[in-house]
């Protein structure tokens, strides 16, 4: 068994991953309380007075696009479909493209929704969302953000002074923040807690990659993190929640991706079982110890 060429194993893995993309498998997506809390925090946010905007920190780069972007896309779709105003920015020095990728998703989803509901007020940049761009910041710099938001950012990614962006008219300081979201493969939430959310009692929702998820559970349990999307599985759960609440008529790439991930996880489990059986049989026969 141990003599199987690894190239054959890779080839089978490729087929196992690709097959569910051609033949969709009806894989049920379970409800997770952390994803539901994430969804409800956004859904129940009251922005009627032009305040309580959502600060979406997109701290990811192309290397984790495969996990972070489906999460970001699912969150943005929910915010646009439920008309929640949000401001995108990136502060992690190694994640400069994050805000551009998030903004491009927001534009593409807004175009799609505008075409689908032509009689509804159109979703537009500046009114429904804004890209505050890439502002490389350390903890020391980030701590001054909540005190004067327009001044901290200066101008948005299009060069408009933040104070002149329509949706930012009533936004001055941390009192005007509703929720902070961090989509990131790094532990950037450890900076957001002391700088904004724990310090000023603002809800923090995070969307880490699967690798980071076990590290975040203590913070979820202690209530410092109030919503958690667990990697691409979290994206699939979120798409499912958005659909169930009538904010989307279908699930999207996150769910399709998760189906392939589940298929490959099954394949890996089978390989682990085969490998262990082969190992114990070889030990029994006096082979490798």
């Amino acid at each position: 068994m141990g003599n199987i060429d690894r190239k054959i194993l890779y080839l089978v893995a490729l087929i196992v991953m690709a097959l569910p993309l051609f033949v969709p498998l009806p894989l049920p997506v379970a409800h997770n309380p952390n994803s539901l809390n994430f969804f409800n925090k956004i859904q129940n946010l009251d922005q009627s007075k032009g305040k309580n905007i959502i600060l979406l920190s997109a701290n990811f780069s192309p290397d984790t696009r495969g996990e972070s972007l489906p999460q970001c896309r699912a969150i943005i779709r929910h915010m646009l479909a439920s008309h929640k105003k949000f401001a995108i920015f990136t502060f992690n020095a190694t994640s400069a493209p994050g805000q551009e990728m998030a903004n491009s998703e927001a534009q593409s989803i807004a175009n799609e929704l505008n075409a689908k509901y032509p009689t509804a007020p159109p979703l537009t940049y500046g009114k429904d969302w804004v890209n505050l761009g890439f502002k490389p910041a350390t903890l020391a710099i980030l701590q001054s953000l909540p005190r004067d938001i327009p001044r901290w950012f200066g101008q948005d990614s299009r060069g408009t002074p933040v104070a002149d962006v329509p949706m930012m008219k009533n936004i001055k300081d941390y009192h005007d923040l509703g929720v902070v979201i961090d989509v990131s493969p790094s532990a950037t939430y450890l900076w957001l807690m002391p700088a904004i959310t724990d310090k000023y009692q603002k809800p923090l929702l995070i969307a880490p990659t699967s690798v980071m998820v076990p590290d975040t559970y203590p913070f979820v349990k202690s209530g410092q993190i109030q919503g958690l999307l667990r990697g691409v599985l979290g994206a699939a759960e979120y798409e499912s929640l958005t659909k169930e609440h009538g904010l989307a008529d279908q699930t999207y790439a996150g769910t399709r991706q998760m189906t392939s991930v589940a298929a490959l996880d099954g394949y890996i489990i089978i390989l682990i079982i085969i490998g262990n059986v082969a190992y114990f049989r070889s030990r029994k026969n006096g082979g490798a110890q």
Partner: protein
Amino acid sequence: MSFTPDQFHSIEVTFGAICTIAIYTLLWRENPVYRIFEYLFLGIGAAYGVTRLFQDSLVNDWWVPMKAGQWWWMLPFLLGLLYFTIYFNKVSWMARMLIGTLMGLAAGLQIQQVAITYFPQVTDSFRPLTPGAVQTLHMAAGGAAMAPEATWVEAGNNIVAFVTLVAVMTYFFFSFEHKGKAITGTAKLGRWLLMISFGTMFGSTITARVALAVSRIMYVLGDWLHLVKP
């Protein structure tokens, strides 16, 4: 020669797909194509990062305000120059002054960060271990009455967390020699629990890597070849 946006998008996606396939040739074996594209990726990544930092930080946040008359932005630049005095023995003490100030600042911030971030963790490690206590504390915090099964599950979770905390701390307690069945048994349990938690982390890592691989397959088969939904 000019391209329409659609043509440019097609070229972009084709180049992305070629890069993806080139990087995955490593699965076959180490080869020059993989190396070229690996260096290309690193080079583009580094160049992009430097450009963005230069434009968004140095130009927008420093040079532009200074040009607009805010001369005091010159001070951080002059202070920063002190770092270079380290190369001149006679005045190298000036660099130490700056480094010391920044280390003090970092230490102060770190203390604040640890207090805000981790003290709630210490408080949270005190949890009710019986269903009755779970219910009482939950209602005292303003929550609605929990279902009896939910209180049992919560109490069970809390017992697992408590046992894990004690066992792992015992395993890492090196101030005295681990002697006696109670201590060695608890430390051994701590090691097993650590292994289980590392296994969970490893499983999560595999899932993350698989998700990234699937996303590239979706890119090649969907965005590039249009064989599946992107």
